[in-house]
């Protein structure tokens, strides 16, 4: 349903839910989500409007330095919780599936900060993210991607001597006949767009904000 066709009271509820998520006001967000369910409003409209717009707003606040990584994590958790409340009124055959991303820092590399930022940014951007942590073996990425039927594998590396593992994942996917099944995006301190192209990655991002944009483009 178009937002402009909704009664003012219902539009106010959607705005209120969006604002509560952006402010990370957990109690208010839960209450408004319950009110939306009780009003028997279309939950998909609430998800598309309130949660999606809140995700954009939270990302902007992070980009401008107003919000920090913990805010992204908390906002992401709240979006999950609110989504579950709203989802109660969606028939199982109408549940829109989130795109699935497996992310981690490659083998031999313990750096987590950049990967955490991207992981959290993607989650708050509406993706289902499986964060495998740091020092993840190439085959473990592939196994998990197969297991969760992922759409994308996102690989972080902060060391020049661990960058080759990004290539290894791509090469292994090709060897296993799985290259077309998963998009692959790479990033991390020493990784460049040129290197990403050279190893055959589908995408590259230089920071967390760009990563969200690039993932949305690749999985559109």
């Amino acid at each position: 349903m178009e937002l402009s066709n909704l009664p003012q009271g219902q539009r106010d509820l959607l705005d209120s839910l969006r604002d509560a998520i952006v402010a990370i006001d957990e109690e208010k967000a839960r209450n408004v989500a319950e009110a939306i369910v009780n009003e028997e409003m279309d939950p998909n409209t609430a998800i598309r409007y309130s949660i999606a717009h809140a995700a954009v707003k939270v990302g902007e606040k992070f980009d401008s330095g107003e919000y920090y990584l913990p805010h992204l994590v908390m906002a992401g958790d709240l979006m999950d919780e609110v989504g579950t409340i709203l989802g109660r009124n969606i028939p199982s055959d109408q549940i829109g599936e989130k795109k699935v991303i497996v992310i981690g820092t490659v083998q031999g590399d313990m750096h987590s900060v950049g990967k955490n930022l991207v992981s959290t940014m993607l989650k708050s951007g509406g993706f289902q993210v499986h964060d495998m942590g740091v020092d993840v073996a190439s085959m473990a990425f592939i196994d998990r991607a197969k297991e969760v039927n992922a759409d994308m594998i996102a690989l972080s590396s902060l060391l020049t001597t661990t960058m080759p593992y990004q290539k290894e994942v791509i090469d292994d996917l090709a060897s296993m006949g799985l290259r077309e099944k998963f998009k692959v995006i790479v990033g991390g301190g020493p990784v460049t767009e040129h290197y990403a192209k050279e190893i055959g990655a589908d995408g590259y991002a230089k920071d967390a904000v760009e990563a969200l944009r690039e993932v949305k483009r690749l999985l559109a």
């Binding site: 990584l69 913990p70 031999g108 313990m110 987590s112 020049t160 001597t161 080759p164 301190g189």
Partner: protein, 460 residues
């Protein structure tokens, strides 16, 4: 009496199990509480705490943070905690000086006071950046080691074996190549006439780090060993492997940890508190005798932003004023600008002035923030600059440092996001004479003269 390393290890197996995400979020909550309790406020107009009062409160908050939060072991997912008595014993028993290197090149690394006249140790060299080939690695390392204001050298990387095979962390190639690179560095410092000079290097895995040691042509016991804490306030067994090797061989252990502005520390105030806590972790958990007390900013590719200078400088000052520990500042080690540019020198100077004046050494080499796979991305002249600035800032008072830093920030602060890339060694140096090309030497002298005019007293 200090807590033994083996008791620490036991606690990694017996401490409470905590979900990593909950630990991360509790960092954010705890620094918020402590910021309010100790009235810690970042003022962009004052990039340095000139009185020391704020630094003392940051130190106290860091102690409280470390005692309440502990260190998260990512290997066992357990939290290692110390009692206040245990922590104070660690701080009191840690040495206030160590000696590194051999023969005439042996150096004494001591606790430095704020505005102190103790000699800051400068370990330069193009830290962990790739070299195109063995000859280039030898040349550049030799050039860095020849400079008398440089006390030690950091290792770089050769990305290919036989010019063909990738060096990959966690594989046999890493062990082979890192060991081979140390042999090249050792030849280079011998050729520079400084055979006993300290070499620092740290491979991605502990296995390859340990494999670099060998008294003849490898790292020596007198070079010490590096161990790192994971950002923020975490450790893995791979880090503790390095400590165990150092302890077993009676070696000096140097630690490194960085808090993250924009990360779970969130604010500059939070990052200053967590920087102190991270330093205490390195002493108590890793058994480091000296440590890099670092701060980085999540969204900016430079380590000398106004916020970073304030947070790292305040944390270093707090540790220097309240303990006898050996603090490594190294704030100017990762400028956004590349070599061959004035901005590189400005950024580097701001960081190293703050490190030195606040009571730190500078042992983390020279390197543009992100190098990627560009080879030979640095020259000995940046090492000389690091040394000249650190030694020149000895005895400077905080008010003068604050004024110079504000002057430098005004020049480079708005150019961090689009910092000039600079040039490689080949474009900046005469490769036979190992001297800067005239245009680079002129640029260096111009910046030096400019800073001399601002009150930085370079040694002649």
């Amino acid at each position: 009496m200090r807590l033994s390393f083996w008791e620490v290890l036991q606690r990694t197996k017996e401490g409470p199990i905590v979900e990593e995400k909950q630990f991360d979020l509790s960092i954010f909550k705890k620094v918020g509480e402590l910021q309010r309790k100790y009235d810690i406020k970042y003022d962009p107009e004052k990039p340095l705490d000139v009185s020391g009062d704020l630094a003392d409160r940051v130190y106290q908050a860091g102690i409280e943070f470390f005692l309440d939060m502990g260190t998260y072991c990512t290997t066992t997912r357990r939290v290692i905690k110390l009692t206040e008595r245990e922590l104070q014993a660690e701080i009191a028993s840690s040495p206030d000086h160590v000696e590194l290197g051999q023969g005439e090149d042996r150096i004494k690394v001591v606790h430095r006071d704020v505005e102190g006249d103790q000699e800051p140790i400068v370990v330069a060299g193009i830290q962990t950046a790739p070299f195109s080939d063995e000859e280039m690695m030898f040349k550049i390392t030799k050039g860095c080691a020849m400079d008398r204001c440089v006390d030690g050298i950091w290792g770089g990387i050769l990305l290919k074996i036989d010019g063909k095979y990738d060096v990959i962390a966690g594989t046999p190639s890493e062990i082979y190549q890192y060991r081979k690179m140390v042999a090249i560095m050792r030849k280079a410092i011998e050729a520079a006439g400084r055979p006993g000079m300290v070499i620092i290097n740290n491979a991605p895995t502990s296995l390859a780090t340990i494999a670099m040691y060998g008294e003849e042509s490898g790292l020596r016991r007198t070079d010490g060993i590096e161990t790192t804490g994971i950002s923020e306030v975490k450790v893995a067994y791979d880090d503790l492997n390095r400590s165990a090797f150092g302890l077993a061989n009676g070696m000096h252990i140097h630690g490194s940890h960085s808090s993250v502005i924009g990360g779970f520390s969130a604010t500059p105030e939070g990052a200053a508190i967590v920087a102190v806590a991270g330093a205490l972790q390195l002493v108590a958990v890793h058994k480091a005798e000296s440590f890099r007390c670092g701060v980085t900013e999540a969204l900016v590719k430079s380590r000398v932003t106004r916020k970073e200078l304030w947070a790292a400088g305040t944390a270093i000052q707090g540790l220097s004023r309240n303990t006898r520990l050996i603090v490594d500042g190294s704030i100017g080690d990762h400028p956004a600008a590349g070599p061959g540019t004035k901005q590189y020198f400005y950024e580097s100077a701001a960081g190293h002035i703050v490190s030195t004046v606040m009571g730190g050494h500078s042992t983390q080499g020279t390197r543009k923030y992100v190098v990627g796979t560009v080879c030979n991305y640095g020259t000995p002249l940046e090492s000389r600059w690091m040394g000249e600035v650190c030694k020149g800032a000895v005895g400077m008072d905080r008010a003068t440092a604050n004024r110079i830093v504000k002057y430098l920030l005004a020049i480079y602060e708005d150019r961090l996001a689009d910092a000039p890339e600079g040039e490689t060694f080949e474009k900046l140096y005469d490769q036979e004479k190992l001297e800067p090309l005239p245009h680079y030497q002129r640029l260096y002298e111009e910046v030096k003269e400019e800073l001399r005019g601002q009150g930085l007293h370079f040694r002649e």
